[in-house]
Every structure is written in structure tokens, then in C-alpha cells.
């Protein structure tokens, strides 16, 4: 039918062209828009004028009828639409039958309504009612306008739908033919000639039309009688009721698709109406073209068919001209050309003229059409319904390619958007506009620029989409464009089909992929918790303040480095390396006068302060003084001694051949005056400490002291005064120091008691006695065994007392070594021997705490004393057998010594010239007795002395024979009972009182006889006789003791001698006698060997 024109890309808008076009149009459109705002009103005015020209009442009626019909049509149409959509599979015939039924029912309803209206009109004769109803009318009209605007949108949508239908038709050859048939049918409708061909249906329609015409004539007659307002009221009532009835019918027919059906039916109906309108307007062929044309294109054509649209459009028009009535088309084209001119020139006046002309033409058309309208209405409705059903069928025949539908839906959306865009103005305005537009469009489509313009915009959008979107869309558009021609259809079909497949496949793949992705994401999202991380500060750089900047750049401008602090570790101490201040100071201790310290700058105040400070520290001072006084005392003593000795002692030293010097102890004290020294004893460790026992003296100065013995403790370096003075009531027969430090003094008395003095006791706790204006501290013994231990004590005078050291180890050590002595401390025992040979052993105990109130259990302990003696054991050393055998004289013991190397062994000198040897624990000691060479003689052993230098072999014993006045000195070896050597001191010299080894030389010993002759032997020099014999008979010597210090640096030894005059002299031996020699021990050994 149509020329086999191939569809090309030019058919569609090229994006570039379109853009150009749109740009050129935009200005115009803006202008037009303004115009179009004005236009509807103007047009309405014109319309009214025109209609007025034609006949006032009639135009109005017509308009009302139109609106009424529209309204009437709406429900049915929507229902139809619903049918189409929901019940595609329904048969056409059934639909048609239903439609007929519906129409019939509607007719009936309408007739009933009219009757009712007539009744109601009679009642509503009153004006009050009329006024009310006018108000209602207005409201209704507004509502209707709203509805109509909706309908307008719907119409557009329907057009699109129609487009879809057309697409389907293109695909289906048969459908095309059908459509052509339909076109033809419509033509016939328009001409009202071909109606008979459609048979019964057509006839029925005609009948209906006739009925309606009749009704309308009646209406018109009624209207003539009544006011226009009343007419309007009535009409509206009728309309309302009619609609109600229609709706009821619908309900009855399709119970299910009620709600949706309304809208869809509306749309459908509107569409049909529009078809008809267009047919009327353009006269058949125009409508047909439009019907087939793509909707946008069509509108565009309305507006400016020849404008910037390509020649294609015109060609199509030409084609249509051939087919259809030419004159209409020409008219249209002329109009279009005019309009274009108008556009180009922009001449508003001409435009208006032209428009007016056109409108006039249109109105002419429309006046005809309006008359036709009523009769045609029903038929067209049914026809369109038929079409729709056909369409439905077509759809059913269609492959159900939903892609296409989807695409069209997209288009729909575009149009909706466009609709929304249009709603720039207020709603009211727009309603009015659209209402008017609809009317205008119906009457003269070229004038509806707004709509066209909107469509153009939509097109533009679509084309943009096209340019960017997939090729499939392009093809789709080409399909829509080429909808009118068969050949084109064919081409497009092939073309689109190829691309469709690939596109569809592509689409499918994409769809699948996206589906999977979506599924995956939905599944994963269940497993994963996504959250917002804490807002992390990547960089926070504070701005540099002005001050900082200034300081950085100028802060160091005027600074100069003056000092460097080098002791960097002492930052917190503020240590600076300044030069140290140096000042001279002096100090003195103890302070002289009031100042203890001073210097060139020190003021008097400062010195005062120092003085007070020094005195404040009294404790330290006291400690210092205590130690310093001893030194000072010695120094002072030496000063005195020097001054004395210059006169006296020097002469004396010359008198004694053995003496190297002499110190005279000051015994010219009031206390000691008239007392004879009976005993002298040196400490073994503190060799400068001397004990002197001053015997009882009658007729002394102080009577209280007459019956008491005084013991003086001297330091030979302090000869002026004795250090301590001890006092006891009875005569002291023996005394000794404690081993180690000479802190304790032990004494045995004539009455058999053993005494202990603790020299450490403070002087304050002892009695002070004033003797001849001199105050003396006399110390009573700390502990005394008097009467306390009567059962275990001695009953005869204690002749000898000796400390017994706890023997340490093998006994090879020198017991006299000071370190060992000191280490012993107080852990020693004391042995005391009385005349009857009873040896008592005492344990010396030092109490931890002194008790000033005295002890209740230890009655011998002086209050405040800390040292006491515990009786340990007793030993009878004199065998009874001997006593009995000899019978001459009782055995008497005179002297007790313990073996220095082994303190278990004791040696006791007896009155038979024998020395008994025994052990403390009853073990047998060999030899038991040491005898003189010549056998036993009645001689008392007065002294017994061990060799000092650790030579345990030798024992020197000196005995004095009392009866025969034969004094002898014997030297014994430990292992041999016979004496090694025996020297007889001259007969005229009386008994030997004392014999002692020199502590420094074991081969030197001295002996004093009763005639105060001192004999000194040096065995290395001469072993048969003493080398020195000094006669001291000018002042008889009452006691003598030898002392000496064996220390290697400064060995010295000397002899202390107490004279009858009371003088106490200490003579230092000559160095020849003092200094130890290597041959000393050899000589002793030689002598021993000789005798053995």
C-alpha cells in the first residue's frame, strides 16, 4: 500500500540536528509559552465570539454537550481499557456484545434520568435553589476541569499505548491490514456513508444516535424555555446520574476489575474521542495519518509540519495526500507554512490574524462536527472498542516480547516527567490551561503550541537518551518511526530483529549478572557488618601563631651567648660552672678561749656561733676527751718525770749496772705512806700495767684504812698517781689480772677468800675517801667469796691464784699472744690454791645487766657489779700418803702455775723443794714430781716460772731453802724430773724471794734473794753463774717483778722493785739483756741435753 520507502536514520532525530533544532526553537518556545499563557483565554474569548456569531445559545449548548459527552464517555472508556488490559484473552465478540448491552443500559438510564430531571425541574422552580446550584455548578466545573487535566494526561498516555499497538501491528502483517480496514471504516464513519456496511451493529448505533439526537432536540427545546443556568444544572445532574448509572453497569459487568477499570476505561474513551475529534478536524485522511504516525511526530507536525522537520515528514504527507483527501492536507500545509513564516518573521499581528483565520476555519469544522458528533459518538465508541479488542488480539498474537513493552513504559515515564515539568505554573492555572488547551486542540490543533512544545521537549529528551543509550534503543525508535509503511516495517523488522537478539542477549546476560550480584550482596550483607570508621584525622597541622613566627625569626636577634653550662646532667640543680670561692679558715679542737674557728673575714659573731656549736655537741666531745685524756695524762706524766729524773734518776741509773733507765712511781701518797709493798704483778698482755699490793699498816693517817689492804693499779707511764686503788679488809696473799685486757683483778686473801675487782666500774659508784685533803676513790671488790661459798671455798690462806684459759686446739699456739688473749674475752676460769693444797676452779661469769639494788641470790656480788665467780670444781693436790710417810712437816703449797701450752696441767711448788705435776681432770701426769739434783731437801718453793717464749720444755724453778738458808735456782725440763741446772746463790745472801725470766729473752732470768741482791743470768754468756750481781742492800727490796714487751719493733723489759722505804722503782734493763738473740733457745736445749 505504502511506497516501499526504506527507513533510514534520518527518520529519527539525529542528536546534533535535534540540539540545533531545539536551540533555535527554544527562544521561540519561550515566546510561545508566554503567548500560550495568554492564548487559552484569548482563544476562549474568540471561541465565544465565534460561537456568538453562529448563535449564542447553541454554541454554549454545544460546548456543554461536548463536556457532558466527554464525561459520559469516560467511565466506559476506562472500563474498556481495563478490559483490554485485564482480559486480553477475551473474545472480541463478547466484548462487543457487552458494549452493546452497556450502551443499551446507558440509554435506558439516560431516559430515566431525563424523566427524573423533568420532575426535579418542576420542583426546582425556585430561584433560591437555582443560586445554590449555581455555586455548586462552579465547584463542579472546577472539579471537572481537574478531571479533564487528568484526562489530558491520560490521553497522552493512551497515545503512547496506541503507539505500542502500532508497533505490534508493524510486526504483524495482518494487523496492518486490519488497521487499514479500520481506517477505511473511520473514513466511512466520517462521511456517514459506509455505516451500513457494518451491519446490525452499525444500524443499532445509528438508532442510538438517532435517539440521542432526538433527545438532544428535546433538550434544546427545553433549554429554550428555561434559563441557561437551569439548563446547566440539569445537565450536570443528568451527567452525574448518568455516570452513576454507567458505573453501576460496569459493576454489574465486571465485578472484578472495578477500580482499575474506571481509569483505564476513561483513558480509552478519551482516546477514542480524540480520534474522532481529529477526524472531524482534519477530515479523515489527516486523522488516519495521525493515527498511524508516531504520536510525538504527529504533534510536531501539527505545530510546524514544514518547519525544521525534515523532508521526510512532507514526503509522508504527500503519500497520504495521494491516498486521502488532498484539500485538507493542503490546507494544513498552508497553515503550517504560514505559521513558519510567522515564526521566522516574529510578526505577532500577522500571527494573530492567521490564527484567527485558522480558528474560524476550525470552528466551521467544529460546528459541523458538533452536530455530527452526537450521532457519531456511539458508533465511534464501538468502533474504537473494536479496535481495542483487535489490538488486544494483536497483543495476544504478539510474542509477548516484554522488552518492547518495557521500553514503552520508559517512554511513558518520560512523558510523565514531561507532564510534571509542565506543571510549573500554579495548579489552577494549569487546570484552566489544560482545559482550554484540550478544547483548542480539539478545535484547532495547530494552535496548541504548548502541548506541541512539551512533546518536542519530550522528544529532545528521548533523542538525548538515544544518542547516549544502547543501539537497541535506536533500533526501537526506528521501529516506532517506521510504523506507517509496510516496506519500512519490513526493513525495520529485519533490522530490529537482528539487533534485538543481540541486545536481548546482552540484556539478559546483564540482567543475570546483576541478579547474581544482587543476590550475592544480599547474602553477604547478612554476614558482614559494615560500619562507619571513626573519623580518622590524617593530618592536623596547627597554624603557626604570629608570636611563634616572630620568635622564630627575630627571637634570637639580640642574644649573645655568655656562658655554657657544661654539667648538663644537673639541669635541675642549676649548677653553674662559676669559679669556686676560696677562703682561709682555721679551727681548733678543743676551742681555745671562746673561738673554735676563725679566718680573716670571720667576725666575732661567727666564732661565737661555732663555739656554741662545739659545746652543743657534748657527747662527741666527751668521747673525744676520754680518749684524749689518757694521751694527755701520759704526756703530762712524762713531763713531770723528766723534770724529776733529770736530778734523781740519772744518778740512780748509774748506780745500777743492769739498768738502762728508771721510772719511780709516786708512792709518796698520803694513802700509801708507811705501807710496805708486799707483792708486785705485771699484766701479761698490758705490760705497762702494774699491780702493787700495799700491806696493812698500823698508825697510818687515816684510822679507817689501817686494817685494810690497798692494791694500786699503776700504769708505769703514769707514775704520778695510781689509776685505781682497790681496797680489802684482809691481807692479800696473791693477785693476778684477767687474761686479755686487764679489766679484772683477782686476788686471794689470807682468810681464804677470792676477790674480783671490775676495773670498768664507774668511779661514781664507789666510796670516796678524803685523806689529807685529797679525795680518793677506793674500790671495794665487785665479788667476794667470803662466807658465801663457805662450803666450797678455801679454809686456809690462798697462796696463789691463776687464770685458767680454756685450752684452744692443740696447744701449740702461744697463749700469750695478745690477739688470742683478746679473743678469749671473759671465757676463762680461775684457779686458786690455798696452803693446804686445795685447788679450786672458778668460772668467771659476766652478768648481762648490772643491778644497782643488789642481787638476792648472789650475796657476794656488790650492788651494781656485773662480774661474779661460780665455783666449778675442787681438787686436792696434796696426797695424803706423802703426808703420812714424811710426817716431819706438813705439806704446804706455796705457788701454783698452769702450763701455758696446756692449761690442764698444773704445777704446784711445795715446801719440800718439790714441784708437783698434775692435771685438772685427774689424768696421770708424767713426771709426777720434779726434784732437785741432790734429792729432797726441806726447802720451800717460793717461785715458779715458765719459759716465756713458747718453749714448753723448760721450767725454771727457784727455790729457797728456808731452814738451811740455802737459796738455789733450778732449771727443769718438762720431760725430766731431775733438774737440768742448779745454781746456788751465795750462802750469805739469804733466800731467793723471787725469780723471773725476762719476757723478751728466754735465756735471761733474774733472781732476788732475801738480802736484796739481784742476780741476773744470761745463759748464752755464762751458764755457771749470773753475769750481773747487784747488791741493793742500801734499801732492801721487798718485792720485785719483771716486765717486758716482746713486740719486735721495740722490745723492752724491765724490773719493778718495791723497797722497804716504800719507793717503787721501775728499772729498764740494758738492751744487751733485752734484745732477743738467736742462740737463746739453742743454749737451753744444749743444757738440757748435757744433763740428760
Amino acid at each position: 500500500m505504502y511506497s516501499g520507502k526504506k527507513i533510514t536514520k534520518e527518520d529519527t532525530w539525529r542528536p546534533d540536528d535535534l540540539i540545533k533544532h531545539i536551540r533555535s526553537q527554544e527562544e521561540e518556545s519561550s515566546r510561545r509559552r508566554e503567548r500560550s499563557h495568554r492564548d487559552p483565554e484569548r482563544e476562549r474569548r474568540k471561541q465565544r465570539e465565534e460561537s456568538g456569531r453562529r448563535g449564542g445559545g447553541e454554541t454554549r449548548d454545544e460546548r456543554e454537550k461536548e463536556s457532558r459527552k466527554q464525561r459520559e464517555r469516560e467511565p466506559g472508556d476506562t472500563q474498556d481499557r481495563g478490559d483490554r488490559e485485564r482480559q486480553r484473552d477475551r473474545y472480541k465478540d463478547r466484548d462487543r456484545e457487552k458494549e452493546k448491552e452497556r450502551d443499551r443500559l446507558r440509554e435506558r438510564d439516560r431516559e430515566k434520568e431525563k424523566e427524573r430531571d423533568r420532575d426535579g425541574l418542576r420542583e426546582r422552580a425556585k430561584e433560591r435553589d437555582r443560586e445554590k446550584e449555581k455555586e455548586r455548578e462552579k465547584r463542579n466545573r472546577e472539579k471537572e476541569r481537574n478531571k479533564e487535566s487528568d484526562r489530558e494526561k491520560d490521553r497522552e498516555r493512551e497515545k503512547r499505548d496506541r503507539g505500542k499497538d502500532r508497533e505490534r501491528e508493524k510486526r504483524d502483517w495482518v494487523k496492518d491490514r486490519e488497521r487499514e480496514k479500520r481506517d477505511r471504516e473511520k473514513d466511512r464513519e466520517r462521511e456517514k456513508k459506509d455505516r451500513e456496511k457494518y451491519g446490525d451493529r452499525e444500524k443499532k448505533d445509528r438508532e442510538k444516535d438517532r435517539d440521542r439526537l432526538r433527545e438532544k432536540e428535546r433538550d434544546r427545546a427545553r433549554e429554550a424555555v428555561r434559563d441557561r443556568g437551569e439548563e446547566r444544572d440539569r445537565e450536570k445532574d443528568r451527567e452525574r446520574e448518568r455516570r452513576r448509572a454507567e458505573r453501576e453497569n460496569e459493576r454489574r459487568k465486571e465485578m472484578v476489575h472495578l477500580d482499575v477499570g474506571d481509569k483505564s476505561l476513561e483513558r480509552e474513551k478519551e482516546r477514542k474521542e480524540r480520534h474522532r475529534e481529529r477526524e472531524h478536524r482534519r477530515g479523515g485522511e489527516e486523522q488516519g495519518r495521525e493515527w498511524r504516525e508516531q504520536e510525538r511526530r504527529e504533534k510536531h507536525g501539527h505545530r510546524q509540519n514544514t518547519g525544521q522537520t525534515d523532508t521526510e515528514e512532507r514526503r509522508e504527507q504527500k503519500r497520504r495526500e495521494k491516498e486521502q483527501h488532498v484539500q485538507f492536507n493542503h490546507q494544513d500545509r498552508e497553515l503550517e507554512i504560514e505559521r513558519r513564516h510567522r515564526h521566522q518573521n516574529g510578526d505577532g499581528a500577522r500571527e494573530r490574524e492567521e490564527r484567527d483565520k485558522r480558528r474560524e476555519k476550525r470552528h466551521d469544522d467544529s460546528s459541523q462536527r458538533h452536530r455530527e458528533h452526537e450521532s457519531v459518538q456511539r458508533k465511534t465508541l464501538q468502533e474504537v472498542e473494536h479496535d481495542v479488542t483487535e489490538d488486544n488480539r494483536e497483543e495476544a498474537v504478539d510474542y509477548g516480547n516484554e522488552d518492547y513493552e518495557d521500553d514503552f513504559e520508559d517512554y511513558e515515564e518520560d512523558f510523565e516527567e514531561f507532564d510534571e515539568d509542565k506543571e510549573e505554573e500554579g495548579e489552577e492555572e494549569e487546570e484552566v490551561h489544560e482545559d482550554e488547551r484540550r478544547e483548542v486542540k480539539r478545535e484547532l490543533s495547530p494552535c496548541s503550541r504548548r502541548e506541541v512544545e512539551a512533546i518536542q521537549r519530550a522528544m529532545e529528551k528521548e533523542n538525548e537518551l538515544l544518542s547516549t543509550a544502547h543501539s537497541t534503543q535506536e533500533s526501537e525508535i526506528s521501529i516506532t518511526v517506521s510504523a506507517d509503511s509496510e516496506s519500512r516495517l519490513r526493513n525495520s523488522r529485519t533490522y530490529s530483529r537482528v539487533i534485538d537478539f543481540t541486545a536481548a542477549r546482552q540484556r539478559e546476560i546483564n540482567q543475570q549478572a546483576s541478579d547474581k550480584q544482587r543476590k550475592r550482596s544480599s547474602e553477604l550483607l547478612r554476614l558482614i557488618d559494615l560500619d562507619f570508621s571513626v573519623t580518622e584525622c590524617l593530618l592536623d597541622l596547627p597554624p603557626v601563631r604570629e608570636y611563634d613566627l616572630y620568635i622564630r625569626s627575630y627571637g634570637m636577634a639580640n642574644t649573645k651567648q655568655a656562658y655554657v653550662q657544661c654539667n648538663e646532667d644537673y639541669m635541675e640543680r642549676d649548677a653553674q660552672t662559676d669559679e669556686t670561692d676560696v677562703t682561709d679558715k682555721w679551727t681548733q679542737h678543743p676551742p681555745e678561749s671562746s673561738t673554735a674557728c676563725g679566718g680573716p673575714q670571720v667576725s666575732q659573731n661567727a666564732s661565737d656561733e661555732t663555739v656554741t656549736k662545739t659545746t652543743a655537741d657534748s657527747k662527741q666531745l666527751a668521747a673525744f676527751l676520754r680518749s684524749a685524756t689518757q694521751v694527755m695524762a701520759v704526756l703530762l706524766e712524762e713531763n713531770i718525770a723528766e723534770s724529776n729524773s733529770v736530778k734523781k734518776l740519772q744518778s740512780q741509773t748509774y748506780t745500777h749496772s743492769f739498768s738502762d733507765g728508771c721510772v719511780q712511781l709516786n708512792t709518796k701518797l698520803n694513802l700509801l705512806q708507811g705501807r710496805q709493798v708486799t707483792l708486785l704483778h705485771f699484766s701479761q698482755t698490758q705490760t705497762h700495767t702494774l699491780l702493787s699490793v700495799h700491806a696493812l699498816h698500823s698508825g697510818s693517817i687515816d684510822a679507817t684504812l689501817d686494817s685494810k689492804t690497798l692494791i694500786c693499779v699503776w700504769n708505769i707511764w703514769e707514775p704520778s698517781t695510781p689509776q685505781r686503788i682497790l681496797i680489802y679488809e684482809a691481807e692479800v696473799r696473791s693477785c693476778c689480772f684477767s687474761p686479755g685486757k686487764s679489766m679484772l683483778v683477782f686476788a686471794g686473801t689470807d682468810v681464804g677468800s677470792v676477790l674480783v675487782w671490775d676495773l670498768r666500774e664507774h668511779s661514781g659508784s664507789h666510796t670516796h675517801t678524803r685523806v689529807c685533803e685529797e679525795e680518793w676513790t677506793l674500790r671495794h671488790p665487785t665479788f667476794s667469796t667470803d662466807a658465801v661459798l663457805s662450803g666450797a671455798g678455801h679454809f686456809s690462806p690462798v697462796v696463789s691464784i691463776e687464770p685458767v684459759l680454756v685450752n684452744v686446739g692443740a696447744g701449740l699456739r702461744d697463749p700469750l699472744l695478745p690477739d688470742q688473749e683478746e679473743s678469749l674475752g671473759l671465757s676463762f676460769q680461775l684457779g686458786s690454791l690455798d696452803e693446804n693444797g686445795l685447788l679450786n676452779l672458778w668460772v668467771v661469769v659476766e652478768l648481762p645487766r648490772a643491778d644497782d639494788s643488789g642481787s638476792q641470790t648472789d650475796l657476794g656480788l656488790r650492788p651494781g657489779g656485773k662480774v661474779k665467780l661460780l665455783h666449778s670444781s675442787s681438787l686436792q693436790t696434796i696426797p695424803r700418803v706423802d703426808k703420812g710417810v714424811l710426817g716431819v712437816t706438813s705439806h704446804l703449797s706455796f705457788v701454783l702455775k698452769f702450763l701455758p701450752s696446756d692449761y690442764n696441767h698444773y704445777f704446784i711448788g711445795s715446801n719440800l723443794g718439790l714441784v708437783r705435776h698434775g692435771t685438772r681432770h685427774g689424768l696421770r701426769a708424767v713426771p709426777k714430781l720434779y726434784r732437785p739434783k741432790g734429792g729432797e731437801k726441806p726447802a720451800e718453793v717460793t717461785a715458779l716460772e715458765f719459759c716465756p717464749a713458747g718453749e714448753p720444755f723448760f721450767l725454771v724453778r727457784i727455790a729457797e731453802c728456808v731452814g738451811c738458808s740455802d737459796g738455789s735456782v733450778r732449771l727443769h725440763a718438762l720431760a725430766c724430773d731431775e733438774a737440768v741446772c742448779e745454781w746456788t746463790v751465795g750462802p750469805g745472801h739469804g733466800s731467793v724471794q723471787c725469780v723471773q725470766f725476762s719476757p723478751t729473752r728466754c735465756s735471761v732470768f733474774c733472781a732476788l734473794d732475801s738480802t736484796s741482791v739481784l742476780h741476773i743470768w744470761d745463759l748464752t754468756q755464762r751458764d755457771e753463774s749470773p753475769i750481773i750481781t747487784q747488791d741493793l742492800h742500801t734499801d732492801l727490796v721487798s718485792a720485785m717483778a719483771v716486765f717486758g714487751d716482746a713486740s719486735k719493733q721495740n722490745p723492752y723489759s724491765g724490773i719493778a722493785m718495791a723497797k722497804h722505804s716504800g719507793r717503787l722503782e721501775v728499772h729498764f734493763l740494758l738492751p744487751s739483756l733485752t734484745l732477743p738473740q738467736a742462740s737463746d733457745k739453742e743454749k737451753l736445749h744444749l743444757l738440757t741435753r748435757d744433763t740428760l
Partner: protein, 125 residues
Amino acid sequence: MTELEQGANTFVIRPNYQHRFRVSVVRECIREILRENLSGVQYDPEETQSLTQTLAESIKHRVKGLGLDDRYKLLVHVMIGEQRGQGVKMTSRCFWDSDTDGCAKEVYINDSMVCVAAVFGVYYY
């Protein structure tokens, strides 16, 4: 895609512990690179662009060499700005799975420039 087609419930939604994005390690990397490349460098507006790019590249390569999980997507962001006493504040915020993803950043400042390098490791499920 291959992962997807194997079916449901085979998702690997956590990287192995050893191959995790450990911020401290990555930061150490960034620090090294920044120190190597920027010590003694003065700010030069013309070189900055290429410098940032090279920095970002080297950081990316270094971080890739750390043995992260293959599914980690690394975003390296390097900013170099001139240091003229102005105040700068940069922040970042992420919508992610904090169990797997992490951000390591390091700032290098010398007299003339400020450089901020941030590495975002995002686990790709």
C-alpha cells in the same frame, strides 16, 4: 564471577590472619618510603605532582609486596603541601567492615613541606 557461580555459602569473608592488612606494618612501609624520598627535599610546586605519583606508586608496590591477601584493594592517597605556617586539617571517614579493612597513614613534615600518605586496604568479598 567464578566465585559466584560455585554456589552459595562459599564466601571468603575474612582474610587469613597472616595476610591481613596490618596497620603497623604498612605504616612502617610508608614511613620508610617517605623518609627515603623526601629527606632533604624542598617543596617545588612543579615537581609535586610527579612526586606524589611516584610516591603513591612506590607505596603501592611496597605494600603489595607485604603479602597481603589478594583480595585486598589498595587505595593509596598521597598529599603534599607546602609548609608555610598555615593550619591544615585532613580527615577521612570510611564505611567499611572494620574487621578486615584498615587505614594506615603517615605524616612527614620537614621545613618546607608536609606530606600525608594514607593507604586504605579494603577487602573485596
